[in-house]
Symmetry: C2
Subunit: 76 residues, 2 copies
């Protein structure tokens, strides 16, 4: 069987509630970054929608806030 074709543009940009969850706890982006063990710029980039987190990072975020991934991220 022939290998399948797949379109070039992968789906992207998942909305998230990070900024709100962070505000509820009065954490700075820096605070959150340290708890997630990523850089502050990564937190900022995710919050401002420049890119999506990896799946492992999404799991760390969900664990930190003790919520399912779907309660924080939505595929818009």
């Amino acid at each position: 069987m022939l290998d399948g074709l797949a379109r070039p543009g992968r789906g992207r940009i998942v909305k998230n509630r990070l900024k709100v969850l962070r505000a509820e706890r009065d954490w700075s982006q820096q605070d959150l970054a340290q708890r997630l063990e990523v850089s502050r710029q990564s937190v900022n980039a995710i919050e401002t929608g420049r890119y999506d987190p990896s799946l492992p990072l999404a799991f760390r975020i969900a664990a930190l806030f003790d919520m399912p991934i779907e309660a924080i991220f939505t595929p818009d």
Copy 2:
């Protein structure tokens, strides 16, 4: 304030139940790839644990199987 330090090695490798879910439906990797609009190699690589899907792709997988992400992927 100084920018924070972050460790080099990012967390990776999330276990998944793709192969089982696929078998339950009697889908080939190719079938699944088409439904997800990714290449067959991507499906195979994810199943064999060579890499994790992106968050957007994880959402597409969860939507396809009508399950929460956490029911398919676990951060080991």
